[in-house]
């Protein structure tokens, strides 16, 4: 029984890490740009496909069996490409809604999500079908009775490292200072010789690249990827960011762990839990928002005249 609990604990941390990587993007973009980038999940989900394409290209042209090295190269390439894709998406579409009401940007990014999904589906050969995604590693460590997949450890380690790097970047570097300045007050930041447009592009790159890592882990965890996986991942990531408190990085982590906790608990305790997991996750979302209307760590909103 203890072994089972440990297994679920590990599962919880893996899911929580994956959700965190996606939720951070939502929270960061909202905090800096005041925009809900609803297609963030779909943009991130482009990463596994880029990775698959890179693996294909490498195995065909260079080394027939690159193994792990190819996979790591592919993931790095996918992270970079998707980061730039995020910047492109902002430049093409989202920046045109900076001054528009929030609902317009929301609907525009929802439509953008459809476009991204359909692009993946039509551009990737036989894109409508699920694609097997190679596991990073299938090795398993045995700690007593508990079987610990090395993959889980990698996911947790990389996520913690990414979050640490993000916090370091935001709080300890000149770029982070500029990002925080723009988030605080766009106009005043401009007076301080900061170019908001450049900061927005950097923010989009960071958010999309982190999301890309999350999506690759998600695909690797599931062992399969389909063009529309981004919808659910995006919804869960968005929910995590919102119940944690939009704009708060700690909130995004907390929200992700909460949702992943419900996810694993339901699957563990309820018979047929896998089909009811979304019901419980989103019931939790409603409950949290009824009790804490601006998320757990969100700043309470005061109405001003």
């Amino acid at each position: 029984m203890d072994a089972l609990v440990a297994q679920h604990l590990l599962n919880w941390l893996v899911l929580g890490s994956i959700y965190t990587l996606v939720a951070l993007g939502f929270s960061l973009l909202f905090g800096v740009l005041d925009v809900i980038h609803f297609s963030h999940g779909d943009v991130s989900m482009a990463a596994p496909f880029v990775a698959l394409a890179v693996i294909q290209a490498v195995t065909v042209t260079l080394v027939p069996d690159g193994g792990t090295a190819t996979l790591i190269l592919a993931i790095l390439a996918a992270t970079l490409v998707v980061g730039l894709f995020g910047v492109l998406v902002d430049w093409l579409v989202i920046r045109r809604f900076r001054a528009a009401p929030a609902m317009m940007a929301l609907v525009a990014t929802v439509a953008l999500g459809t476009v991204v999904r359909e692009l993946i589906r039509t551009l990737y050969p036989q894109g409508s079908n699920p694609k097997p995604f190679p596991a990073l590693t299938t090795e398993v460590l045995r700690l007593g009775e508990v079987a610990v997949p090395v993959f889980s450890l990698i996911v947790i380690f990389v996520s913690v490292a990414t979050v640490a790097a993000l916090f370091w970047l935001l709080n300890r570097t000149p770029v982070g200072l500029r990002i925080r300045a723009v988030a605080e007050d766009r106009a005043v930041a401009r007076l301080m010789a900061i170019r908001p447009d450049r900061i927005f592009a950097i923010t989009f790159f960071i958010a999309s690249a982190i999301g890309a890592v999350g999506a690759v882990f998600f695909a690797s965890h599931a062992g399969v990827v389909r063009f529309d996986f981004g919808v659910q991942l995006g919804l869960i990531g968005f929910s995590a960011a919102v119940i944690g408190g939009l704009g708060s990085m700690q909130g995004a982590i907390l929200g992700s762990l909460l949702i992943a906790g419900v996810d694993t608990t339901v699957q563990m305790t309820i018979p047929d839990g896998a089909s009811y997991r979304l019901v419980f996750i989103f019931a939790l979302v409603i409950l949290v928002l009824v009790l804490k209307p601006s998320g757990v760590l969100g700043k309470p909103v005061f109405e001003k005249v």
């Binding site: 045109r96 609902m103 919804l235 019901v279 409603i286 009824v290 909103v301």
Partner: protein, 394 residues
């Protein structure tokens, strides 16, 4: 009635041009829609899309044109209404017996109802709601379950489904007391997903397979599954549902108009302008917000019931999050708080994907791109909301 005398004192504008404009716009619109519905060749559909694009470009460049048309309609309200009703009644006779064209019309009309329902919230009061699809589903499932399990007639399930959906609507409105904007949007998204997942998992809703074999309604012994035969004309059975949904759209327009002109509509508009100021004016913000959720669910359930009896087969996938998003897009593309614009948005977004089938695999891509372009190029919607008109001469 000083205002009235004032308007009489001025020389009356000639009614001739006004009537010609009204008739031209209505008949032209009907002809364009008909050609679009019946057009099958790629070139024809593309050409018609180009014509529509040109019309809207013209309206965009010459705002005076729109003003002229609106004032003509205002001056000739009764003839315009009579002609409109006439066109709607006669329309199926011009569809060359095409059941596909009629089917598209029925679906477009049902989506018009859904978009009008959401418009009370999004358009009038600026409350985001991503759960209209869920209310639509609750209505459809309630009536279908009643009809299948208890043999309740269609006409009785209609109000029952509406009441059930309204109760859920009020429940959904409950969190709106405290949450706002993006947070409220997420509550409605979550509600929609929970409803969809439950419909998908319960055994008594048929699970992912849904409910099959919902009987067609009958009226005065005439089954809606039968074709209509009038004066030697034979209309496909879809025509029954065409008239039914058209009646529902008319009801929705009427209630939209009455609500807009009432204290409720005024309160909603005040909420949209500034919730805090509205509260200071003594408007019960929470009640009006919840009322908006209730009205939305009520109308959506009507549409859901008609849909269930029309296609006689419903499954959870008819009521997903993406359906709610589509309804939301219809309202925003059409023009918030503008009844005609919202209906046009619903027609456009229902017919466009169907007609773009000629682009086969790329159709959803096109629809997405068109929606984004629309939001960038004409953010106020096809027909922007009009300032309130408090009687008296303009």
């Amino acid at each position: 009635m000083a205002n009235h005398e004032l308007s009489l004192a001025q020389p009356r504008p000639a009614t001739g041009p006004d009537l010609a404009i009204v008739a031209g716009v209505q008949l032209g619109g009907a002809a364009l829609l008909g050609a679009f519905l019946l057009g099958e060749k790629t070139a024809v559909v593309v050409a018609l899309l180009a014509v529509m694009g040109a019309i809207f470009a013209l309206l965009q460049l010459r705002p005076g044109l729109e003003e002229r048309i609106v004032s003509a309609f205002r001056a000739q309200r009764r003839p315009a209404l009579a002609l409109g009703v006439g066109i709607v009644l006669a329309y199926p006779f011009f569809m060359q017996g095409s059941s596909y064209a009629l089917h598209l019309l029925v679906i477009a009309l049902l989506y018009s109802v859904l978009a009008l329902a959401l418009n009370f919230q999004l358009g009038s009061a600026n409350i985001p709601n991503f759960a209209t699809g869920a209310s639509y589903g609750i209505g459809a499932y309630t009536s279908a379950l009643l009809a299948l399990n208890f043999g309740v007639s269609f006409w009785l399930t209609l109000p029952v489904a509406a009441v059930v959906a309204t109760i859920f609507g009020f429940l959904l409105g409950f969190p709106s007391m405290r949450t706002r904007e993006s947070y409220l949007a997420l509550v409605t998204i979550a509600f929609g997903i929970v409803v969809h997942q439950l419909l998908n998992n319960f055994s008594w809703t048929g699970g992912p397979n849904g409910l099959v074999g919902i009987p067609a309604p009958t009226i005065f012994g005439h089954s809606f599954a039968q074709p209509i035969e009038v004066l030697g004309f034979r209309l496909p059975s879809q025509a029954n549902f065409y008239y039914l949904s058209a009646a529902l759209v008319a009801l929705s327009i009427l209630s939209a108009k009455r609500l807009h002109d009432s204290r409720v509509g005024l309160a909603w508009n005040a909420l949209r302008a500034d919730p805090l100021a509205a509260r200071c004016q003594g408007i019960d913000v929470v009640w009006y917000k919840m009322l908006a959720f209730g009205v939305d669910a009520f109308l959506a359930a009507f549409a859901g019931t008609i849909y269930a009896f029309y296609v006689s087969y419903i499954s959870p996938d008819n009521f997903t999050f993406l359906v709610s998003v589509t309804i939301m897009t219809m309202v925003i593309v059409g023009g918030m708080d503008n009844t005609l614009g919202v209906i046009l948005g619903a027609f456009l977004l229902t017919l466009l994907p169907e007609k773009l089938r000629i682009f086969a695999d790329y159709r959803l891509l096109f629809v997405g791109v068109i929606v984004i372009l629309f939001l960038i190029l004409r953010p106020q919607g096809l027909f922007p909301q009009r300032p309130r008109h408090y009687g008296g001469p303009q």
